[in-house]
């Protein structure tokens, strides 16, 4: 982890209220692993705290951050211009486990709710070396589905779930997952990687009871202070008590979350 200053390469509007910010950093490109995040100081004169943002994609030395407008921080970030200096602390946190031997032989399912695709794409970049990656993208409507083609280009199989049924499966992405786990994947050992709204992540727990052979790693978010484990602001309740999302997380085994 280091504090670096990088200059913005580009800022693209991907969809309504959704942006892709790119910059170059050989340090972060080298050190980062999927599920880790960057802590950005966005507007030192008006916004005090840094803002945590997932690493979305790394190609060569180019780092992408995918974000949606949420508040003052993201709004200001969406006004970034090419050449602007970014004050970045990172890479931070503990990301997804995708290298363990017992994980390598299993079927991988990536489950993204809305902006939850942000860290999962970087994971898919690393995972596609092993084949058998299924990506489930969920959103309220077709318009909010992100990165479908990008995942397909990596060779992932992509299934869509929209709550209004405007594309793919009609219903929540977690319901689609449940359906798949009880039919096609019931006998197989799977590793599920999920990111999305907190409520969606909690709804995975009852679903997993139907798939005892599945392992599920989930990336959580919470309002953060320092991002480096010092202030103990961004905690989540686990079976062992409060744990810091910025340090022991943001990725946790869903079984440990109480």
């Amino acid at each position: 982890m280091r504090r670096i200053e990088a200059s913005a390469v580009s800022l693209k509007k991907v969809k309504e209220e959704t942006f892709l910010l790119s910059f170059k950093s050989s340090y972060i490109a080298q050190k980062a692993s999927p599920g880790q995040f960057l802590h950005l100081r966005i507007d030192p004169l008006r916004l005090l705290l840094r803002r945590p943002l997932s690493i979305h994609r790394i190609e060569g030395q180019k780092i992408d951050i995918l974000f949606r407008l949420r508040g003052k921080g993201t709004r200001k970030l969406s006004l970034t211009k090419k050449g602007d200096t970014l004050d970045i602390l990172g890479p931070l946190g503990r990301g997804f486990n995708y290298t363990d031997k017992n994980i390598q032989g299993k079927v991988k399912i990536l489950v993204a709710g809305g902006m939850g695709v942000a860290p999962l794409f970087f994971l898919a970049q690393k995972l596609t070396a092993y084949r058998d990656v299924l990506v489930l993208l969920g959103a309220a409507t077709k318009k909010e589905i992100l990165c479908k083609k990008d995942f397909q280009k990596l060779g992932c199989k992509v299934l869509i779930a929209t709550e209004d049924g405007s594309l793919g499966f009609k219903g929540r992405v977690t319901v689609l997952l449940k359906h798949l786990l009880t039919t096609q994947y019931s006998a197989l050992s799977t590793v599920i990687y999920a990111c999305g709204p907190t409520e969606m992540l909690f709804s995975l727990r009852p679903i997993l009871k139907t798939a005892p052979r599945a392992v599920c790693q989930v990336s959580f978010e919470q309002f953060m202070g320092c991002g480096i484990g010092v202030c103990r602001a961004c905690v989540i309740k686990t079976a062992k008590g409060y744990r810091r999302i910025c340090k022991e997380g943001p990725v946790f085994d869903i079984k440990d979350i109480s």
């Binding site: 705290l49 840094r50 320092c226 010092v230 103990r232």
Partner: protein, 305 residues
């Protein structure tokens, strides 16, 4: 013309620090967490996260919210407890900054128990008594009563010869009265000020945003409020003070030194800018060079005329 030699070394009632920058309790963990990105050469002392006799889980999340120029937090003294801390203490000894340990207990007796244990550790240079955590479910903070503050200090004072500092809440009618009672009871110095109580309401849920409802406000938003309290206490008592409240740059630091502060406490800044201590010291040194000041003693309290 020969240049005057500039020294930033600071004497806090016999506690000699290499410079006046202190990392405030709760914003620097136990120091070790910061090693990767903070250069401890630029830090005079670190005040540890407040310890309690037994481990404490802390408050439910969310525990932090940003406000205009400020940060609201309600951590609730989450800590590993005194025993585990002492078990890990060897690792802390090698940090090239002095260690001030912050402690809290509900009763005088528990305070004393902790202090007797800390007194045995040669490397602990001072003890800060947290009489002002705003995030506990107690009716009153110790430092909201001059009598209570005096009786706690008097009782604890007997347990150690180490430098004793009391951290006070700014939320009293007359902070000078509380400061004076601590001073007369034998405190060596004060840490001024802890956070101001505040809340944020979530406009979506219409309910308080923080898990514990109330939080403590820190950051630039409280700087003038903290400065006024440091100013008043110094004016009356001329006692060593670790001043804190939104210090982010050398000009903030100067204001507090002119008001009478001995040490410059960084709190909220630690959460955001790991470079703040180095930058403040560099700019302070430059200021001193330009104004032919060789020691901060020359400018301490000068705002009082």
């Amino acid at each position: 013309m020969a240049r005057k030699k500039i020294s930033l070394s600071t004497n806090f009632r016999g506690l000699r620090l290499k410079n006046p920058v202190v990392l405030c309790s709760g914003t620097a963990g136990f120091g070790l967490e910061l090693e990767e990105i903070f250069d401890f050469k630029n830090i005079g002392a670190i005040v540890t996260k407040t310890l309690t006799l037994r481990p404490q889980a802390g408050n439910p999340p969310p525990r932090i919210a940003e406000t205009a120029s400020g940060v609201l937090n309600s951590i609730g003294l989450e800590n590993l407890g005194l025993k585990s801390f002492l078990g890990e203490f060897n690792k802390l000894k090698r940090l090239p900054a002095d260690i001030i340990v912050s402690v809290y207990a509900h009763t005088k007796e528990d305070f004393k128990k902790m202090i007797l244990r800390l007194d045995e550790e040669r490397h602990i240079k001072a003890i800060e008594l947290n009489f002002s955590c705003p995030n506990l479910r107690i009716k009153k903070m110790i430092s909201q009563s001059a009598q209570l503050t005096a009786s706690f200090v008097k009782y604890i004072r007997k347990a150690t010869k180490k430098v004793l500092i009391a951290k006070l809440t700014p939320e009293v009618t007359d902070i000078v009265k509380v400061a004076k009672s601590a001073y007369e009871a034998g405190i060596d110095g004060l840490s001024l000020v802890n956070t101001f109580s505040g809340i944020k309401i979530d406009t979506t849920t219409k309910k308080p945003f923080l898990g514990n409802v109330f939080g403590g406000l820190s950051g630039p938003a409280i700087k003038p409020l903290a400065l006024a309290r440091v100013f008043r206490v110094y004016k009356e008592l001329k006692i060593p003070i670790i001043a804190s409240g939104g210090i982010f740059d050398y000009q903030d630091a100067l204001e507090f030194i002119f008001a009478g502060a001995t040490c410059i406490g960084l709190g909220t800044a630690n959460l955001i800018d790991p470079d703040a201590p180095r930058r403040i010291l560099k700019d302070l040194t430059f200021y001193m060079e330009r104004n032919r000041i060789s020691s901060l003693e020359e400018i301490r309290g000068v705002a009082h005329g």
